[in-house]
């Protein structure tokens, strides 16, 4: 199944790239990432790249290959179970690919003593929440995208939760960049509390998205209508 999905990703990358042009939310995300990037560059915090880059890759992959399956896919000889498996494996792949980049880059930084193991673990957790959360947004089919938002209202609607989730992700990245050269024991209790609070908020947002939208979005991929 992974091979099939990768073949489809490779074949349809150009038409999938068009979806980025149609998606205005990604501009806001890139804007914030760019602002943090400039600040990091000025403070020589180059490890930002090894955190932001995988996050951006997962975001881009989610927007390119998630969002909907085209009608032709539903015409292919696949049953609902196969389409469900395709959706699940596709979701996993869009997390796995940038995760490999994240691990390679951050393990190298660890060996270069840019940050400690505890900080790496915190970065890994924040990245993990971001990757899962971003890809859940992208799953519903185009025909049912509006319906899924209306069918599963939560704290207003899906978009509210999504915006909140993205904002917390960005804040956590800002915090991580500013604490990277310290070990946990060197951090002020207030700084530790801040990390704990925002990671908890991100955890709550991710769990909410998974609980309320993940399986529903997979099920939406089973049928065209």
């Amino acid at each position: 199944m992974y091979k099939l999905i990768l073949q489809d990703y490779r074949s349809h990358w150009r038409s999938s790239l068009r979806k980025l042009y149609d998606n205005s939310t990604i501009c806001f995300v890139w804007f914030f990432y760019a602002i943090i990037g400039i600040d990091s560059y000025e403070n020589n915090k180059l490890s930002y790249a090894f955190l932001a880059f995988p996050c951006l890759i997962t975001y881009i992959l989610g927007r390119m290959y998630g969002g909907y399956m085209n009608k032709t896919f539903f015409l292919c000889p696949l049953d609902a179970n196969a389409r469900r498996q395709y959706a699940i494996h596709s979701f996993r792949l869009r997390i796995i690919i940038p995760s490999i980049l994240f691990l390679i880059g951050n393990i190298i930084l660890l060996f270069m003593d840019i940050f400690s193991m505890e900080i790496l673990l915190i970065r890994l957790i924040v990245y993990g929440f971001t990757a899962v959360s971003v890809n859940i947004y992208c799953q519903p089919t185009a025909t049912d995208n509006i319906y899924s938002t209306n069918r599963y209202p939560f704290v207003g609607n899906f978009e509210t939760l999504n915006t909140y989730s993205n904002a917390i992700n960005v804040i956590n990245i800002i915090i991580l960049i500013h604490i990277e050269e310290y070990s946990i024991v060197e951090l002020h209790p207030l700084e530790l509390a801040l990390i704990g609070i925002f990671m908890t908020l991100q955890l709550v947002a991710t769990i909410s998205k998974v609980k309320h939208f993940y399986w529903q979005s997979i099920v939406l991929m089973e049928f065209y209508k």
Partner: protein
């Protein structure tokens, strides 16, 4: 080859219902699906393709239920739909390979041969093609995976006259072994006069009739004559009558022993005549 049993489907957003559609197409025949705009032809084809799930009823493609045995049913269907389906940024060959890998009998060489026959360049991107060429591509792809059933949704209107002849020739060859069938949804009833073996008529989501073409044409007569002659026509047999100036045209059901007033001109109606009169009046409901 294809069998529909009590198919019903309701759409809240369009306030449209397809209700109790039952008919079948045997192997080795071409069935025309006719009906006015909005009758439900495309909806029915979407149901047969497994894109929509029926509210009620079953659809069997070569013995496989489209709902419970979806893979085998869809593997046996080739389609040409009047909409943009494939990736516009890929070449024809790349598109065919990308979706053909899901079909058990997809043959790349066969696809290339059909493209050459249809004067399509496989290396051109889909977006550079005209609408007619895109439909030819769909047709080439449909044939390349050796389906048992072709579902065609109004393709002929966009084909040039030369290709239309070739298209009909291909369809005739396709069914010639007696193991394949074609369902052709069309407004051009003249196409069915050429190649249609069966005719299925939908009107406002309901099945009016589904029968072989010869029986259909033998079941109706078109009467023309002076307007007052309308009174002598048996009302039980009258489908619809139209008056213009002092003349009238009426469609009536016919049995082989029926006789008609000598002053009436009696002719065998075309499929278009039958459809026209049914649509004009809901007398059949």
């Amino acid at each position: 080859m294809i069998k529909l049993e009590n198919i019903s489907k309701h759409f809240d957003e369009f306030n449209f219902t397809l209700s109790n559609i039952s008919f079948s197409i045997p192997k080795g025949y071409i069935c025309g699906l006719i009906g006015e705009n909005g009758a439900g032809k495309s909806t029915l084809i979407h149901l047969m393709l497994g894109l929509y799930r029926p509210s009620k009823g079953d659809i069997y493609i070569n013995g496989h239920n489209i709902s419970t045995d979806e893979i085998k049913a869809k593997d046996d269907i080739g389609y040409v739909l009047s909409e943009e389906l494939f990736d516009p940024y890929l070449t024809l060959l790349a598109n065919a390979d990308s979706y053909g890998k899901y079909y058990s009998r997809y043959n790349r060489k066969s696809f290339i041969e059909y493209c050459n026959r249809f004067e399509l360049d496989c290396k051109k991107k889909l977006k550079t093609l005209s609408k007619g060429q895109k439909l030819k591509f769909q047709f080439a792809f449909a044939l390349s995976h050796s389906p048992g059933l072709l579902l065609l949704d109004e393709p002929t209107a966009n084909f040039d006259p030369n290709f239309r002849k070739e298209f009909f020739s291909i369809l005739t060859d396709f069914i010639s072994d007696g193991e394949h069938s074609v369902l052709l949804a069309t407004h051009l009833t003249s196409d069915l006069e050429i190649i249609g073996d069966y005719v299925t008529f939908l009107h406002k989501g309901k099945l009016v009739f589904s029968t072989d073409r010869e029986s259909l044409l033998e079941s109706y007569r078109l009467l023309q004559g002076e307007a007052y002659k309308l009174n002598v026509i048996n009302k039980d047999k009258l489908i619809h009558a139209e008056k213009k100036d002092n003349t009238m045209t009426a469609l009536v059901t016919h049995r082989c022993y029926d006789t008609y007033d000598k002053e009436l001109t009696v002719s065998v109606p075309t499929i278009e005549d039958i459809m026209y009169h049914y649509v004009k009046e809901d007398a059949y409901v």
